[in-house]
């Protein structure tokens, strides 16, 4: 069984999270990803926590690739890098706008050594406009892109605990990465059909907006900011968390009209199913507050486990609120191997997220830990003959 991207080589000139995560995913699809690192270790090595001395961001964003150190500011190494680029189908960089060009590794430079290259420029805010040269990482993008404006307790604004950030600070980074991967795969199809490479540009902010597609649809249609509603949905109801008799919160979601009668039966509130105030989803959303108070009183009469059991039997989406520890060993996670443990040469046993896709004929993965900085330098130099041509001209 050949991996999907077998034979595809990626020049990975990326830092921090967005770029490295994208090339990691290409590596998990079978590409030979070569991460080109500067002699001074990138900052993600140093950000705690660390596992056996290496920052967890560096570890987790650099699975399934090989690492080579090249000093792109030295002429000798630059020549080696161009030679490497000539062997690469895909080139990814997420430096600040203009920085790659300044180093001599902009699109035009790479096309000169590899005419059919698929070249990705990944920026925070794009290459035009007043913020073109601003740097951006997840929390800044959360604030800027409106992502936080729909998070918070019901009725909250900027001064009342609204605009709440997601404490897991990488979601928009990785969202951007996954957009990059999709575009690279499309470009590979285009190249396979036409022989033509291309330049792909992706901004974090546009990726962050796309992730708010449904929220922005509300804004575009009504001209009004969709409000934060705590755990509740603005477009379906009931779809929120309820506190049960044992003080545990149970989240439930009725997202299709045909689930509503089943939900009412599970709650032993059969009359509600025939209540004209709550007949359709639009009715229930309009009467959400009133409906929620009826339901809250009901949920408070029995423990969460009781309701979870009844709702599950009725085929209605529900879950208790998991934390990392309960989630790690949840039977659903275990049964699907959503998380797996891998043995690594440098970082001991790591718990890792399984590759995100299941392919029946060409399985992706397995997840393999990358190395330490520059670990594969000698191997890659020998394999690709990077030292052979002192002039560094492309073959």
């Amino acid at each position: 069984m050949t991996a999907i991207l077998a034979g595809i080589r990626v020049f990975d000139m990326t830092l921090a999270a967005v770029g490295p995560w994208a090339s990691k995913l290409l590596g998990q699809l079978g590409a030979d990803v070569i991460k080109v690192e500067a002699p001074e270790p990138e900052m993600s090595h140093q950000i705690p926590p660390k596992v056996k001395g290496t920052g967890v961001l560096y570890i987790s964003a650099n699975f399934n690739k090989r690492q080579i150190v090249l000093d792109l500011k030295s002429e000798a190494d630059k020549a080696k890098a161009y030679r490497l680029a000539s062997h690469c189908d895909v080139f990814i960089q997420n430096m600040r706008t203009g920085a790659a060009e300044k180093l001599g590794f902009g699109y035009d430079d790479i096309v000169a050594v590899r005419p059919d290259v698929i070249y990705v420029t990944s920026t925070a805010y794009g290459r035009v406009g007043p913020m073109a040269s601003d740097g951006g990482v997840d929390p800044l993008l959360q604030a800027f892109s409106g992502f936080t404006s729909v998070n918070g307790p019901e009725g909250s604004g900027p001064e009342e605990g609204g605009f709440e950030m997601f404490r897991h600070l990488a979601h928009l980074d990785i969202t951007t990465s996954s957009n990059i991967v999709e575009a690279v795969l499309q470009a590979l199809i285009h190249r396979e059909r036409t022989g033509q490479g291309q330049h792909i540009e992706i901004e974090m902010v546009t990726a962050a907006l796309a992730l708010q597609h449904t929220k922005l649809a509300e804004f575009f249609a009504t001209g009004t900011q969709p409000p934060p509603l705590g755990s509740a949905s603005t477009i379906t109801a009931p779809h929120q968390a309820f506190q049960c008799q044992d003080r545990e919160w149970l989240t439930v979601g009725v997202t299709r009209d045909e689930e509503w009668p089943a939900f009412c039966r599970a709650l032993q509130l059969d009359d509600l199913a025939h209540d004209p105030r709550y007949e359709t989803n639009a009715d229930r959303v309009a009467a959400r507050t009133e409906l929620a108070s009826t339901l809250a009183a009901r949920f408070a009469t029995k423990p969460a486990a009781w309701w979870a059991h009844r709702l599950t039997q009725a085929g209605v989406a529900n879950s208790r609120v998991q934390d990392f520890d309960t989630l790690r060993h949840h039977p659903q996670v275990t049964a699907n191997q959503h998380l797996v443990e891998i043995e690594t040469p440098h970082f001991g046993t790591l718990t890792v997220d399984q590759v995100p896709w299941d392919f029946s004929a060409t399985p992706a993965g397995p997840v393999v830990a990358g190395g330490l900085q520059g670990e594969h330098s000698a191997q890659i130099r020998a394999e690709l003959g990077l030292d052979d041509d002192a002039n560094g001209a492309a073959p």
Binding site: W21, M43, I47, P49, K50, V51, V56, G126, V128, G129, P130, G135, G136, P139, Q142, T148, S149, G152, P153, G161, E164, M165, F166, S178, V181, E182, L185, Q186, A187, I189, Q196, E201, T206, L209, H213, T214, A217, F219, F220, A221, T234, H239, W249, T255, D257, V285, G315, V316, V321, L327, P331, Q332, A335, N336, G348, Q354, P356, W357, S360, T362
Partner: protein, 413 residues
């Protein structure tokens, strides 16, 4: 569209059996890239997303009768709609005929359900050996929850997301954005595109699957490494878990967030002088050229009040310039109205307008990636229910007389 500016997936046909948010968004991303997406909807009510509020104002449409779901409109451009009842034997037969001519079938019927309906990969492959099918599930195809439907909040809560917002012990807070659905859609689109690439190179189709739970766990990949066996329990990945909610820093005219990633000694001293915080240059909490006291630093909570006292005297824009000149970055918090007024967002041209037959002009986000040789594009408005039933069934030889009979029997609409 054909020719040099056509999207990369031009010429591929995708039969989309999905409803709601995730599957339709995945199919739309394929459609944006040029694929011909045929959306199969139940005849009476259509995709369940057609019932999701808010609805467009009928008075903005050409005939005052077009109250369309804004959510549906956002997720279904560039597609054709065919109304076929999958609960009927004949309806399923028609879908199999369409699948025989398709390159990809996308379904979210639930683990095992497509197989039971005779629409699973192995059945469809009999008439179309190199077919690619993509199955989307909420929880994965094994395990005790496999048959349970998913819902955005429920997947977020299961995947720990509601514990990364709010305060421990208080009512759960969700991410307002539909991340379980939309992040998963991107991975589904990747899986299909990767499988198409493989088929171009080898001629072989296959079945691919993604699940929302797997995707949300993937999005937290850094956390799994962090919690594996850290050298010490610290750093923002681990500490933030118990921190109070983060809302940024108060400035004179709004809130902002900032970082001091590249500050040097000289930059830092100048920033502190400019902010009137000279006393804190030698403050232990402000070590590492202020980075320890800045967001993500280890003294961030203790230093918050010091920063805010200085920030409250200045506007967000003033602070952005100051912090940038010291090798940092700062931005204000936007809501949607302020975001779309922002010169940066205007410069990026992130939205475009399409004319819908009943809803009138619909504002929509452009595709994310700008690809210079095979650009994705917004070409046609979201379809009306069954708008293309006739033309699509015609292509598989179901003639007008047969269609009339099928309509009368409520198999199609």
């Amino acid at each position: 569209m054909t020719g040099p500016t056509a999207g990369a997936l031009t010429g591929f046909t995708v039969l989309d059996l999905t409803q709601g948010l995730c599957g339709p968004y995945a199919a739309m991303r394929l459609a944006d890239a040029g694929a011909d997406v045929i959306k199969v909807e139940p005849p009476e009510v259509g995709d369940c997303a057609r019932a999701l509020p808010p609805f467009t104002d009928p008075s903005t449409g050409p005939s005052n009768d077009g109250a369309e779901s804004a959510i549906f409109l956002a997720l279904n451009r560039n597609k054709r709609s065919v109304a076929i009842d999958l609960d009927t034997h004949t309806g399923r037969y028609l879908v199999r005929r369409l699948a025989a001519d398709a390159d990809v079938v996308l379904e979210d019927l639930g683990p095992g359900r497509a197989e039971k309906l005779g629409l699973g990969h192995s059945r469809l492959k009999a008439d179309n050996p190199d077919l690619i099918t993509c199955s989307i599930s909420a929880w994965g195809e094994q395990g005790p929850m496999r048959d349970l439907p998913g819902a955005e909040l429920v997947v977020q809560a299961m995947a720990e997301y509601t514990r990364s917002l709010g305060r421990i012990g208080d009512a759960p807070i969700r991410l307002g954005a539909d991340v379980a659905n939309l992040n998963t859609a991107i991975f589904a689109s990747q899986a299909v595109t990767a499988a198409l690439f493989h088929r171009l190179r080898t001629g072989k189709g296959q079945r691919v699957a993604v699940s929302m739970l797997r995707v949300l766990l993937h999005m937290r990949g850094i956390m799994w490494a962090a919690r594996s066996d850290p050298d010490f329990w610290g750093g923002f990945h681990l500490d933030h878990y118990v921190n109070p909610p983060e809302h940024g820093y108060e400035a004179a005219d709004g809130r902002l967030f900032f970082g001091l990633r590249r500050a040097s000694s000289e930059d830092f001293d100048r920033l502190m002088i400019d902010l009137g915080l000279v006393d804190h240059i030698a403050d232990d909490r402000f070590g590492n050229f202020g980075r320890d006291a800045a967001p993500l630093g280890r003294h961030v909570e203790e230093a918050r009040e010091v920063w805010e006292e200085a920030f409250r005297q200045r506007s967000v824009e003033e602070l952005r310039t100051l912090i940038q000149s010291a090798g940092g970055d700062a931005v204000g918090f936007n809501d949607y109205p302020s975001l779309f007024e922002h010169p940066q967002i205007r410069a990026l041209e992130v939205t475009t307008e399409i004319e819908h037959p009943t809803a009138g002009p619909v504002r929509t986000l452009r595709p994310v990636a700008r690809m210079d040789a095979s650009p994705a594009s917004v070409r046609t408005p979201p379809p009306l229910l069954g708008q293309h039933t006739d033309e699509v069934l015609d292509t598989v030889g179901v003639d007008a007389a047969e269609r009339a009979a099928l309509r009368a029997a409520h198999v199609i609409a």
